[in-house]
C-alpha cells in the first residue's frame, strides 16, 4: 500500500508553492522600499508611496548614474578581454590532446573554487608596487581572475565539437587567415562567445570584495554603492539601486532561460555571482 495519491499531490503542490514564494520573496521588500515614503514598523505596506528614491537615484547628485556607467564600462571591458584571451585557450583545450593538459585545466579551474579574498590580498600588495591599486585598470585586471575560467570552459566545450578541417578546406581554396576566421571559425563559435561573454559580464558585474580591495574604495561600482546605502539604512534608495543592479542579470536570464541546462559547464558561473 503506497501513500494516498491525493495527499501526495497536495503535498507536492504545497511544497512547490512554498519553494517558489521563498525564492521570490527577498526581492519583494526591496521593490516596495524603492517606492515607499517612510515605511515604519509595524505597517505591512507603506502609508505613502513616492518616486522620491527613484528621482534621487537618477539625479546627478547621488552618483548612482555615474556608478552605473562605470560598472557597465568595467564589466564590458572585462568581457572583451576575457573573450580575446579565453577563445584561443578554449581552442587549445577543446581541439588538442597534449601532455600536461590536465594540469593546465586544473590551473585554469582553480580560481573558480579558491575564494577571491584568498588571492586578492596578495595581488593588492603587488599592485601597490605597480601603481595599479585604486585604479580602474587594476580593478579590471583583477576581475579577469574569476571571469576567465568560465570563458575558457565554455569555449573548450564549443571547440570540442568544432571540426578544424573546414578551416583547412577554406585555406586550400585560397582564403587568408583573416577570411577563414571571419567566414568559417567565427560563425561556428559565436554561440559560445555569446554565452561565455554573458557569463563573464555577470561575474564581473557581481564582484564586490575584489573591487573594494583593489579599487581601494575609489572605484565605486554599483555593488559598493548598494552596500554603503544599505549599511547606512537608506532603505528607499537601496531599493532603487538594487532594482537597477539586478536588471542586466534578469534580462540575460530571460534570453538564456530556454537554453539553460546543467550540462552546460557555464552554469558553474552562477555559483560566483
Amino acid at each position: 500500500m503506497g501513500p494516498d495519491p491525493f495527499a501526495m499531490r497536495a503535498f507536492r503542490i504545497l511544497t512547490g508553492v512554498l519553494l517558489i514564494v521563498w525564492l521570490v520573496l527577498p526581492l519583494v521588500p526591496l521593490a516596495i522600499w524603492s517606492f515607499a515614503r517612510g515605511w515604519r514598523f509595524p505597517d505591512l505596506l507603506p502609508q505613502e508611496w513616492s518616486l522620491k528614491a527613484w528621482s534621487y537615484a537618477l539625479s546627478d547628485t547621488s552618483g548612482v548614474v555615474d556608478s552605473l556607467g562605470l560598472t557597465i564600462g568595467i564589466s564590458l571591458g572585462v568581457t572583451v578581454l576575457s573573450i580575446l584571451v579565453g577563445v584561443p585557450a578554449g581552442r587549445a583545450l577543446g581541439l588538442y590532446q597534449f601532455r600536461g593538459k590536465q594540469a593546465v585545466e586544473l590551473m585554469i579551474l582553480a580560481p573558480t573554487i579558491v575564494p577571491g579574498i584568498a588571492v586578492a590580498l596578495g595581488i593588492h600588495s603587488v599592485f601597490i608596487a605597480l601603481g595599479l591599486t585604486n585604479t580602474i585598470p587594476g580593478v579590471m585586471l583583477v576581475h579577469l581572475v574569476p571571469t576567465l575560467p568560465y570563458m575558457v570552459l565554455v569555449m573548450a566545450g564549443i571547440f570540442a565539437n568544432f571540426d578544424p578541417s573546414y578551416e583547412a578546406q577554406a585555406r586550400s581554396l585560397g582564403a587568408g587567415p583573416v577570411q577563414t576566421f571571419w567566414y568559417i571559425t567565427l560563425p561556428a563559435i559565436l554561440p559560445g562567445i555569446i554565452v561565455g561573454g554573458m557569463f563573464a559580464f555577470l561575474v564581473s558585474w557581481s564582484q564586490y570584495i575584489l573591487t573594494l580591495l583593489i579599487g581601494g574604495g575609489r572605484v565605486v561600482t554599483l555593488p559598493l554603492l548598494l552596500f554603503n546605502f544599505a549599511a547606512s539604512g537608506r532603505n528607499d534608495i537601496t531599493g532603487a539601486i538594487g532594482m537597477i543592479y539586478i536588471l542586466p542579470g534578469l534580462l540575460i536570464l530571460l534570453v538564456t532561460a530556454r537554453h539553460l541546462s546543467g550540462q552546460n559547464g557555464a552554469v558553474g558561473g552562477f555559483g560566483r555571482l
Binding site: 526581492l27 577571491g116 579577469l144 570584495i209 549599511a231 539586478i246 542579470g249 534578469l250
Partner: protein, 285 residues
C-alpha cells in the same frame, strides 16, 4: 608551425593571466604571511604571523563560525535542491513559468539577496511586522534576532535562498539526462518510492550534487559581503576578519591577514583534493 608550438601560443595569454595574477597573488600572500618581503627590507622569513593567528581566540571562534556557515548552508541547500529537482522534473501545467521563477535568482547577485533577507528578517522587518499584526509580538525587540545573530541564521538563510536554484538546476539536468527508466525497473521489481530514490536515483545524481556542493562550500567559506552585511561584529566570519586585519591602520597586522587568507586558500585546496579523490573513486567503483 608544430602542434606543440601552436598549443603553447594559444594558451599563453590565458596562462599568463592565471599564473601571474592568481598564483602570483597566492605566492605574494604566502611570502607576506611569512613576513618575507625583500622590497621593503624584510629578508628573514618567520612564523610570527601564524603564531599570532593560531594563538588568538578570535581566530578560532571566527573559523568555527565560518565553517558552521559554510557546512550548514551547503547541506541544507543540497537537500532542498534535490527535493526541488524532484518536484520540477515532473510535468505539470505552467511548468515553463515555474522553471523561470525557480531560476530567477541565479543572476541576482548575493548582496541583493542579503539586503532582501535583512528587510525580511530583521527585528523591524516584514516578518516582525506580520508577527505584530498577528499579536505574537508587542514591539520589534520581541522578535527573535535572526540577523546579526550568533548562529549566523540570516547569513545561512541568504545562502540557502541563493544556492537552491544553483544546485537545483545542475541536479535537474542530471536527472533529465538519466531519465526515469532505472527507477521504473526498480519499482517494477518491487522497490518502494523511497527505495527507488535512495538506492537507484541518488547514487546516479550524487557526482553532480557533490561537485555543486564543493563549489557552494568553498564559496560560502570565502565570501565577504554577505557576512559583512548580515553578520554580527564579534566573532566575524573569517574573510571579514582577514579584510579588517588587512585594512587595519596598524600595518603590522597585514601579515596576519595574509596568514588568514592562506588558511582560506588551503581549505579550498583541500576541498578540491577531496573532491577529485572522491569523484575518481566513484568512477572506478
Amino acid at each position: 608551425m608544430s602542434d606543440r608550438m601552436r598549443i603553447m601560443l594559444l594558451l599563453a595569454p590565458a596562462m599568463l593571466i592565471i599564473v601571474v595574477l592568481f598564483f602570483g597573488g597566492l605566492a605574494a600572500g604566502l611570502m607576506r604571511s611569512f613576513n618575507y618581503m625583500p622590497v621593503i627590507g624584510l629578508t628573514r622569513p618567520n612564523l610570527e604571523a601564524y603564531a599570532a593567528v593560531f594563538t588568538s581566540r578570535e581566530f578560532y571562534l571566527s573559523f568555527l563560525l565560518t565553517f558552521h556557515i559554510a557546512f550548514t548552508s551547503t547541506v541544507i541547500s543540497s537537500v532542498l535542491a534535490i527535493g526541488a529537482a524532484l518536484l520540477l522534473r515532473r510535468s505539470f501545467i505552467g511548468k515553463s513559468v515555474i522553471n523561470f521563477l525557480f531560476q530567477l535568482n541565479l543572476t541576482v547577485p548575493h548582496i541583493v539577496g542579503a539586503i532582501g533577507i535583512l528587510y525580511l528578517f530583521s527585528q523591524s522587518g516584514s516578518f516582525a511586522r506580520l508577527g505584530y499584526h498577528w499579536g505574537l509580538i508587542a514591539k520589534p525587540g520581541d522578535f527573535p534576532a535572526l540577523v546579526f545573530d550568533p548562529y549566523a541564521i540570516g547569513i545561512i538563510l541568504q545562502y540557502v535562498w541563493k544556492e537552491i536554484p544553483f544546485i537545483g538546476v545542475i541536479v535537474l539536468a542530471n536527472m533529465q539526462a538519466i531519465g526515469q527508466d532505472y527507477e521504473s525497473v526498480a519499482r517494477s521489481l518491487g522497490a518502494s518510492r523511497w527505495q527507488a530514490f535512495r538506492h537507484v536515483l541518488l547514487p546516479l545524481i550524487f557526482p553532480g550534487v557533490l561537485s555543486a556542493s564543493v563549489m557552494v562550500f568553498a564559496f560560502t567559506f570565502g565570501a565577504y559581503e554577505i557576512p559583512a552585511l548580515l553578520g554580527q561584529n564579534y566573532p566575524a566570519a573569517l574573510p571579514v576578519l582577514a579584510y579588517r586585519k588587512y585594512t587595519d591602520v596598524d600595518l603590522a597586522a597585514r601579515p596576519e591577514a595574509m596568514a588568514m587568507a592562506i588558511v582560506i586558500a588551503v581549505l579550498s585546496a583541500v576541498m578540491i583534493y577531496l573532491y577529485l579523490r572522491m569523484s575518481r573513486r566513484k568512477i572506478r567503483g
